[in-house]
């Protein structure tokens, strides 16, 4: 009796709680995507029109995020900046996940010598903090959005690669892979049917969280003057431009930063929900 009760009650409750966080973060991401695709629909005014009579106005109903030193509407600039910021984030996270997939698979599946070498490479890359690796690349390639994508992508790859490796290894040593071997399935069949899908699924979560983290890293580079430069409305560039006015117009840096935080948080929350629903095995 109680067993049945338990089984029917618990999942329903859990699912409802999952949905609130999931919905909130999904809607947030959706709004940002809309801003990236059709900024002119969402932005109240043109992000590039200067009007020095309205320079450095604090946030108001007319200008939700205030205006910058050239009188441009900051809210519109943030919306127009979404495209480039998201592109950098998606590009960097995509590159990071791709490199991680290659390195992690080799480290987990290759023969002893090759796997050993790749494992060492991952270890060495891991010794370089993301930001330092990015700075090193920028100093070689010069600063540009593409450099930023490569730098942040490669910088985050070793961490992801470790996760991929761990995932593949645990799948490879799992009971279901042994059961498949006992059924007489060929090695490649097992890889294709069990190991690869089970390793790929967490990557969706890693990628989602990675987009948010990459935007944070990229804007951090811009903040110290080594990312996308003003007058682009890319979020990092907005931070860079706003630094000069921190004492008299703090909204110029606080609000774009807040937008980045919200996006990163939404991406993390969404990624975590994907992860936990995958772990429960019912997604």
């Amino acid at each position: 009796m109680t067993g049945v009760l338990e089984r029917t009650v618990a999942p329903v409750q859990r699912r409802r709680r999952v949905r609130v966080g999931f919905l909130a973060s999904a809607v947030t991401i959706g709004v940002f995507l809309a801003a990236a695709v059709t900024p002119h629909v969402l932005a109240p005014s043109d992000p590039f029109t200067m009007d020095f009579t309205r320079a450095l106005q604090s946030p108001s109903l007319a200008h939700w995020f205030g205006t910058d030193e050239s009188g441009r509407d900051l809210f519109s600039r943030v919306i127009y900046g979404a495209r480039e910021s998201l592109a950098i984030g998606v590009g960097a996270a995509g590159l990071g996940v791709l490199v991680a997939l290659v390195l992690g698979s080799i480290a987990a599946l290759a023969g002893r010598i090759l796997a050993g070498i790749v494992n060492r490479v991952i270890e060495v890359l891991f010794a370089f903090p993301t930001l330092l690796l990015a700075l090193l690349l920028v100093s070689i390639l010069g600063s540009s959005p593409l450099t930023l994508v490569i730098a942040v992508g490669l910088g985050s790859a070793p961490g992801y690669a470790r996760m991929v490796r761990g995932q593949i290894l645990s799948s490879k040593n799992s009971g279901y892979v042994e059961a498949a071997r006992a059924l007489g399935h060929a090695r490649f069949t097992i890889f294709r049917r069990h190991i690869l899908p089970n390793a790929l699924r967490p990557l969706i979560a890693i990628f989602t969280m990675g987009v948010g983290q990459s935007i944070v890293w990229a804007s951090g580079m811009a903040f110290i003057g080594l990312g996308v430069a003003p007058p682009s409305p890319e979020w990092g560039a907005l931070l860079d431009a706003g630094r000069a006015y921190i004492t008299q117009a703090s909204w110029l840096i606080v609000l774009p930063g807040f937008v980045i935080v919200v996006l990163a948080l939404a991406a993390t929350t969404l990624g975590k929900h994907i992860q936990s629903s995958l772990e429960k095995g019912d997604a």
């Binding site: 109680t2 338990e6 059961a179 049917r193 095995g281 019912d282």
Partner: protein
């Protein structure tokens, strides 16, 4: 220190004066868990008295409410628990309305608690001596020096040799028997009137279990009252004076141990007693008969090797070494040979670390032996490369102890079973589907489980799916590696019955691996007894269980608790006082 016990030692057991003081009385205990405003009852109307020097046992399967009952008695039911009782009295104290502080003064001092396996029930990062001392410190017993001495005395009193050295070791450095003794020492450190033992022998090897039961018996003889919680009737049979049988939160039957064991009234109790496999239950059903759908037998056409009449599986001189993390090599399997005939069940029994599961993996050619060969249906099996083995793989399949981890969590039952059909055996999707439905019927599962994922199935259902998967290629041999060990006894009974049916129906040969002598004796035609990688004895089930020749087999059988309340478990002299060298885990 032992004043309470010493003054109360009575000559003999069960024949003392009737007016023994009641140490703990529970009257009409109800426990529920609240969840968003609704209360889900988990324990209903439990009443009993626990007298001095008496043992009351609560027996039930998982979810019966027995552990919740035990924890309620020490005030640790949990955050969301709603406890309602007519009265719980410990001596003269009312336990129904105590402050957290008062509870803490009772726990450990007046009520000791022993949980299962000390490997997880003692802090794995600390020496056992520190854990025992903690119980003394918490209740302000003595000073530092006297506590240290007391710890050594306690370890000695529960039969731990060289206590000075053992006290400094962590649970993982001690053998199973020694660490369980240390756990008991920490529970009785302050000489509590009552000891609650919640599954104190679960997950322990049978010889260690016997040691623990003897220790509990000794405590009872010295006047300690024991509340014993177990899923296993045979564990409580000898020790208990009173037995409560719980199911679904209710006490379905309650009485003296003698009456419950010899003359059970309630069908649930009868079922529980009948479900226990043993030598005497061979050939009879363990679970009440259930409706089984008519089964398509035609699909299990395994004629390829019908003409072959030698042993279906033959292992000769198997040896397997493993390299330990510290670089030393140990032999997990040492010169193991056996043969398995068609339609026969060969049981391999042994305690943990005996090499029985490694033997099974070598038989399945999932592990390569360092020496020795396995032949399958008279053909080379272990000696050929995996690519050539695949053709033969459908002849031998396996069922594991934990089916959940042996299923890909992304796949539902249908996908799992479709995947297990041999490639090319069924031409059309309709034929494959028909075969899957037939397999489900054979293992007694409804079609509705097809679209369920492993996580959504109960333990028994999962094991049935695992069996269906093993049957899918129409094998000659099924290796059952602890296949029923994780199941409740009533579910275990159903699965064992099913396995017997399937064997008769399809002429299957079973290689049956288990640590459980009862299960082995119920199932096996012939038996191998393994210890430390060696086969110490082999023979027919009757020979092994009625006239064991090897001392180790005798020790195992002596340690096996049975439903016979007059049968006391025995411990070989070597095991009861382990020599100092045995103290350290390998």
């Amino acid at each position: 220190m032992m004043t309470i016990l010493d003054s109360s030692v009575l000559p003999g057991i069960g024949q003392g004066p009737a007016a023994r003081p009641v140490r703990l009385s529970v009257n009409n205990l109800n426990v529920g868990f609240s969840h968003h405003g609704t209360v889900r009852p988990v324990v209903r109307n439990v009443s009993f008295n626990l007298e001095e020097g008496q043992c009351v046992a609560i027996v039930g399967e998982s979810g019966s409410g027995k552990s919740v009952t035990a924890r309620t008695l020490v005030g640790l039911t949990g955050q969301h628990a709603v406890v309602d009782a007519g009265g719980i009295r410990l001596g003269d104290d009312d336990l129904t309305a105590l402050s957290p502080k008062r509870w803490r003064s009772i726990r450990g001092r007046r009520i000791g608690f022993i949980l299962q396996d000390a490997l997880v029930s003692l802090d794995p990062l600390r020496p056992v001596g520190k854990e025992i001392e903690e119980a003394l410190t918490l209740h302000g017993w003595g000073d530092r020096a006297s506590r240290k001495r007391k710890v050594l005395d306690l370890l000695a009193s529960v039969g731990v040799p060289a206590p000075r050295n053992r006290a400094r070791q962590r649970p993982d450095e001690l053998s199973g028997g020694l660490r369980q003794r240390a756990l008991i020492a920490s529970a009785i450190a302050l000489d509590p009137e009552i000891v609650i033992a919640d599954e104190p022998t679960t997950a322990l090897d049978v010889t260690v279990q016997a040691q623990v039961l003897l220790l509990l018996e000794d405590m009872k003889r010295r006047g300690t009252s024991i509340l014993l919680i177990s899923h296993d009737l045979s564990v409580v049979a000898h020790l208990a004076d009173q037995i409560l049988v719980m199911s679904g939160g209710e006490v379905v039957e309650q009485g003296t141990a003698h009456s419950i064991l010899t003359d059970p009234q309630h069908p649930y109790t009868q079922g529980l007693i009948n479900a226990v496999p043993s030598r005497d239950t061979r050939g009879s059903r363990l679970a009440p008969a259930r409706e089984v759908a008519p089964v398509h037998t035609a699909a299990h056409a395994n004629d390829d090797h019908a003409g072959f009449d030698g042993p279906v599986l033959e292992a000769t001189g198997l040896v397997k070494h493993f390299t330990a993390p510290d670089g030393s090599r140990t032999a997990a399997v040492n010169d193991v040979s056996f043969s398995l005939g068609r339609g026969e069940t060969l049981g391999i029994v042994g305690e943990s670390g005996s090499g029985k599961s490694t033997t099974a993996r070598i038989a399945l050619a999932l592990e390569n032996a360092d020496a020795g060969t396995v032949r399958l249906l008279g053909q080379d099996w272990s000696a050929i490369p995996e690519t050539r083995r695949r053709r033969l793989r459908k002849q031998i399949s396996v069922v594991y102890q934990d089916p959940l981890s042996s299923f890909d969590p992304r796949w539902n039952t249908e996908r799992i079973l479709l995947d297990s059909l041999p490639a090319g055996a069924f031409a059309t999707a309709a034929q494959r589907r028909e075969r899957v439905l037939a397999l489900l019927a054979q293992v007694g599962l409804p079609d509705s489980v097809l679209h369920r994922f492993p996580l959504q199935l109960s333990g028994g259902q999962r094991q049935r799916v695992a069996i269906a998967r093993a049957l899918a290629p129409s094998p000659s041999i099924v290796v059952l590696d602890e296949a029923v060990s994780a199941l409740d006894v009533s579910i275990q009974a159903q699965i064992l019955d099913l396995l017997v049916d399937l064997q008769r129906q399809f002429g299957l040969s079973y290689l049956f691996i288990s640590h459980d002598l009862g299960v082995i004796s119920h199932m096996s035609d012939r038996v191998l007894v393994m210890k430390d990688g060696f086969v110490v004895e082999s023979g027919t089930a009757d020979q092994i269980f009625t006239a064991p020749a090897h001392p180790y087999t005798k020790e195992l059988l002596g340690a096996l608790p049975t439903l016979d309340e007059n049968h006391s478990v025995s411990v070989s002299p070597a095991a009861s006082v382990p020599p100092a060298t045995e103290g350290s885990a390998p």
